[in-house]
Symmetry: C7
Subunit: 94 residues, 7 copies
């Protein structure tokens, strides 16, 4: 199991199929929107300048939208994950 540190979270990226109004699938270079993911693990919290740990707002199982190009890709036991900081999470999809 991967246990993220501090304010980091681990997600599985959800591939969103991109179709135009006429149902045509757009090639990759035409997609510029944020991406969706499912949270699989969260760190213990954000360490403030004052040395306090503030628990994260995101929890395992949450579906999130995050800024494209943020985070680091990790392969673990044959699966791809992305490790983000919680500040890269734009919104939770409820």
């Amino acid at each position: 199991m991967l246990k993220p540190l501090g304010d980091r979270i681990i997600i599985e990226v959800v591939e969103v199929e991109e179709k135009t109004a006429f149902g045509i699938v757009l090639p990759d270079s035409a997609k510029e929107k944020p991406q969706e993911g499912k949270v699989v693990a969260v760190g213990t919290g954000f360490l403030t300048d004052g040395g306090q740990v503030v628990p994260l707002n995101v929890k395992s199982g949450d579906n999130i939208i995050f800024s494209k190009y943020s985070g680091t890709e990790v392969k673990y036991e044959g699966k791809d994950y992305l490790i983000l900081r919680e500040s890269d999470v734009l919104a939770i999809v409820e």
Copy 2:
């Protein structure tokens, strides 16, 4: 539903028709002013360096003026939204 994190807010952009004194609609490149939007969701607040959460001043339903080029565009259930930080909000229109 999209739930923004921290000091982030989600808005629907309001298209402002731009006319000159003679009623001529300006093309896009001639518009350089901030934009207007309607707030549809707000985060729980701004996290200070000291680990304190300060509630946002903006609330759902507010009409706001924000700095052009700020925020991230998100498409959710067929509609376009913009996710901003509250610090990108210049003023509330009352």
Copy 3:
């Protein structure tokens, strides 16, 4: 009405006619001095790192001098305003 957020203020710019010693009005590119404005609305205050709100020193009705090129131009109900942060205000004219 426009209500600025936090440490922002809204001003009407006061056009200062610029004359040389011989009374000749200078063209725009020859003017490099700070500008004057009249405050029409102020935010609730400056949010410190510690999460405290410090009220602004500038109030509605004040005439101020501000750094040129600071702030964002806003058009509202046919009038032009400038939204500044209080830190862009150099001095109050009393």
Copy 4:
């Protein structure tokens, strides 16, 4: 009257005549030293990160040495002033 904000001060610049050992007045481009000024107004103090106002050390009437190229030139009622932050003041001349 001009009332500077926060940690700003307003000074009148004192022109220091620059002579070489042989009494030749140097042209402007050959002068690279800090400048002298007389303080005519001071702000209420420096606002710390914690929201505290710390009174300035400089007071009206002080002769100071300041870093060249700092501050903003202001013309007010026909006279030229310079608005500096107190941190641009290098030393007080006593």
Copy 5:
């Protein structure tokens, strides 16, 4: 023995053999993933702005994933180590 200071940790890098789906070993330039390591020593903790020491979350013996290109290589008694800051650690492998 090497004793890292503050929020630094010392690790032995674990070489991960990189194979494609067909079992072909990839050359170095084709690998762009974070790396794995085993922690051999940890510092006393992270010094906050307030002068407090916060103990590290990583401990000797932990297997970690860290950002490629972070840290400084050190040779000590014939062995290669990498000295990282704990903030370069992405996750602990459990």
Copy 6:
């Protein structure tokens, strides 16, 4: 008298004659070492983010080593001085 502000100090630069092993005086461009000076005046102290004044460690009469290229040259009553921040002082020579 020049009275430096805050964490600033005023020094007289001590010219160190630079000789090679064979006693040859090196020209200026060949010298790249820090410089020595004698402290002639010190400010009231360093202002912390919290608004506290921390007295300086350096005092009048101290011989110091400082980073070359730091500080501002000042001419006062015919003598040359250098105004530094205490953080530019590398060490006191005792």
Copy 7:
């Protein structure tokens, strides 16, 4: 004696002879590893944002590894020293 200020330390650099697996001494440009030094003097401590002095972890006599290219070279009474900040120290060799 040289007395470093604040979080600075003074070290004598230890020249590490660099040999390849075949015992060939590498020329300088081929060495890219951190360097070793012996601490000869330490400052009174690190000044936090809050104005607190935190004593250093390194003490006189310690052998340390430090990041190459950090610090300032000083010649004092015919000997070469390096003045570093404690944060440039990677590890203590025990």
